[in-house]
Symmetry: C2
Subunit: 141 residues, 2 copies
């Protein structure tokens, strides 16, 4: 239950690679895809989302590619995951403040709300630079 999809995995792997590059260094999508071991066309879509949300800056033409839009220490794992998977939402009814059925919100609602809050807190507390460093730079998602 609650599994991250491939898209989410790829997103994390891809942006970690970017974060591991020297600051300001522009990377091609082909380069990132190869390094992160992700199908290139798929990763391109993912980075489109990143760009639209302002996590990375893209440029076209010769010399173009992707760079982080902010320091890796200012990009959270939550932003990356939500960029491609949508908001953290363990139960549909958490969208509206209240109930989809019946009179008002129920105790189940509160439990899922609690789950949502906890997960968001954990992912908010992790930044990409932390992930990018890893131990000795080995292993990055």
């Amino acid at each position: 239950m609650m599994e991250l999809t491939r898209k989410g995995e790829y997103a994390i792997r891809g942006i970690i690679y970017l974060a591991q590059q020297p600051p300001g260094r522009v990377s091609l999508i082909s380069e990132i895809a190869a390094a992160a071991d992700v199908p290139q066309t798929f990763l391109a879509k993912i980075f489109q989302s990143f760009a639209k949300l302002g996590l990375v800056v893209s440029s076209r033409g010769t010399g173009g590619g992707f760079v982080l839009a902010r320091p890796a220490s200012a990009i959270t794992m939550r932003e990356v995951v939500e960029a491609v998977e949508g908001p953290i939402l363990p139960n549909r009814c958490l969208l509206g403040a209240s109930c989809e059925r019946g009179t008002g919100h129920c105790l189940v609602h509160d439990v899922w709300r609690q789950v949502q809050t906890e997960v968001v807190n954990i992912l908010d507390a992790v930044t990409i630079d932390t992930l990018a460093r890893g131990r000795d730079g080995r292993d990055a998602a």
Copy 2:
């Protein structure tokens, strides 16, 4: 992201109804389905899972139906959810203790492990009798 499926929602609604019945009272699947507003044939499958896992006891024939196998206070929301959705597993690689790729486990792994632990803790702390009581018995998932 991480949305509970219909099956999970139905499972919770169904077992809460059972928990709201007088202890020992046998309920028909048709009755539960109507009360919880769930397609009956679908709910039947869900309760089959419950029975196989020992959350409920089923009996066939006239006068048959379902009863909780234990007091509602001894059945956790985690058990109910996992019965139909499988284990809480935010990332595939949490299954093996280590990595699917590369050398060893990475920092991403640790974050998802933390998420898993938190969610499990929350759901373990909630029992069905708490949910069944609700406020005034109104609203039950």
